[in-house]
């Protein structure tokens, strides 16, 4: 497993690159067109989902397909507290509540299910999305008699900046977790859970807490995304695609490095946006083909491929053995 080492020499260049990207993003609404602002908002949404998915599943080795649940909870919190008839609470507070709400759901689900190993965990988390979708659908249909909700309109630039802040926070959290003892404990669970337990890692606590932290970002993103959607119903909010796309983007980008999932999300989200408009009839087909090709031929993702090419280059750094 690659762990990013930040020596004083290797820190400067990435630091400057990050700063440039950050300034470029932060000033985008000043010079970018509306289309670009909206496009980058949705790319960041996918990047946050991917980064927070990797935060838990990438290190712990548990294949979580619950992303759509946490994202959907965020969307619904937003729809309840920010209806188009008038906001109940300020936007930022709602985003925070949505994140915390998803975290609480994750704490419950995690405490219940994280003793399930391998395939059972994947299947359970996947079932959760459908269960919530079906129950909510039934509830809206039979009890409240409503169908869908309208969410308050929010200025595109505001959505963009809130998304940017959540994105930066999720990256920062990933970085801090990776650098901490907590992250090492998580990593050791991914490598060998029994061994981790034997050396004194409280595996259940580490897993559940990480699961909740990753859910926080998913929920917060859902809340702000809902204001962009403006109309939501259970099928929009709890769409299983939101469980798969982050997995796909993470594999596509490569999970070994901290920026791998981001690169995967950016490229894939961009391709998705263009494919969906240019070739709507072949969109799913291309999606499936890319998924299979990435699994077969890109085990380390795009980043792994670039690193390999870099190492093969004459005079390039050699692989650590």
């Amino acid at each position: 497993m690659d762990t990013a080492r930040f020596t004083s020499k290797g820190f400067l260049v990435p630091g400057i690159i990050n700063l440039v990207i950050l300034i470029g993003l932060a000033t985008l609404p000043l010079y970018g067109s509306l289309y670009n602002v909206v496009l980058i908002t949705s790319i960041m949404m996918y990047a946050i989902l991917t980064v927070s998915w990797v935060m838990f599943s990438g290190s712990s080795g548990y294949l979580s397909l619950a992303t759509a649940t946490f994202f959907g909870v965020g969307i619904y919190v937003s729809a309840l507290l920010l209806p188009n008839t008038g906001a109940v609470l300020p936007l930022l507070v709602v985003v925070l509540i949505a994140g915390l709400g998803s975290s609480i759901v994750a704490l419950g689900v995690g405490a219940l299910t994280l003793r399930l190993r391998g395939i059972y965990f994947a299947v359970f988390t996947f079932g959760l999305v459908i269960l919530v979708l079906e129950l909510l659908n039934w509830w809206e249909h039979s009890v409240t008699g409503t169908r869908g909700r309208f969410v308050m309109l929010v200025d595109n630039d505001v959505i963009f900046y809130i998304m940017l802040v959540i994105f930066i926070l999720s990256m920062l959290t990933t970085y801090l977790i990776r650098r901490s003892k907590f992250g090492l404990a998580l990593q050791s669970i991914g490598e060998n859970e029994e061994a981790a337990e034997h050396i004194g890692v409280n595996v259940t606590m580490v897993k559940v807490i990480t699961f909740a932290i990753s859910a926080f970002f998913m929920g917060a993103t859902g809340a702000i995304w809902a204001t962009k959607l403006t109309y939501i119903d259970p099928y929009v909010a709890f769409n299983v695609l939101y469980s798969f796309l982050p997995v796909l983007m993470a594999i596509f980008g490569g999970m070994g490095q901290i920026y791998g999932p981001v690169i995967g999300a950016v490229i894939f989200a961009y391709l998705q946006e263009t494919f969906q408009t240019e070739f709507p009839y072949y969109y799913m087909l291309s999606f499936g083909v890319i998924l299979i090709v990435a699994i077969l031929y890109l085990p380390g993702g795009l980043v792994g491929l670039i690193q390999k090419a870099w190492r093969r280059r004459p005079g390039g750094r050699h692989a650590d053995t």
Binding site: G61, L63, L112, T113, L116, G118, I119, Y120, A122, V123, F124, G127, L128, I130, L131, E134, L135, N137, W138, H141, S142, F244, V247, L248, I251, Y281, Y282, Y283, M284, L285, F287, G288, V289, L291, I292, I295, L296, P299
Partner: protein, 292 residues
Amino acid sequence: MPESIVTILDVAIGGLLLGGIYALIAMGMNLQYGVARVLNFSHGEFIMVAAFGTFTLYTVVGINPLLCLVIIGPVVFLIGVLLHRTLFHQLSLRAPNVDAYAATSILASFGLLFIIQNIALLGWGADYRAYSYLNFGVNIGGAVFSANKLVILGFAVGIGVGFYTFLARTHIGKGIRAAAQDPTTASLMGVNINYVLALCFGFGAAMAGLAGVLYSMRIPLNPAMGMQYTFIAIIVIVLGGLGSIPGSFIGGFMLGIIGEIVSYFDPSLSLAAYYLIFMLLLLVRPKGIFGK
């Protein structure tokens, strides 16, 4: 007969009629998971494609849907074998361990799901299609069921029992059972493991195909219909125990009856009820009812 008994009979037989299909679908998926170690999320897509294939063969060419069983079944079987020989076998060669293979094969099966669904969408369009075959009422103790549902149940039970006998009595069946228990030892004992795994994947796909042919007689078809049967199959194999073929067979009927009971009270809750049972089961007894 009193009204309440007719209702109970109605629900019970309705459950069995539904359960026959569930049993067949779940047996196929369990074969792919229990032996070939692929939790195939594209299982339902094979059902969908076979159902559309039957629709086209019947409405355009005029071939009897029951005859389609012997046409579509082998075709889907071959597709399954080829898929395993190419895609899943390659994945297993690349995976460092069993857990990694489980994860990559799930994701690859999702890829297949999208590909197959998209192709079906291009070929048959997004509208619901249906045809009518053996669609007349048969009276059983006061409750009326359409004849095609009874035919479906008969074939489903026949295929299930036939396949179980094949596993229990034949030489190849013995090899499959050995591979399910311990692939490494089985291969040391002279079982051609790659052949057996591909065969099992093919059989699993073929069962989905047969289920699709049968099911197309009673439900409207749509390219997006496959996924819910994949879910149902997963629920049934967890209910009956991962890897247990008889467990899936019985579990299918159990889920069918549960579904009919819930539908009797509120049809829109039956899927939610399936998931609730499924998740409770995962928490309480993940081995399933018949799991060892």
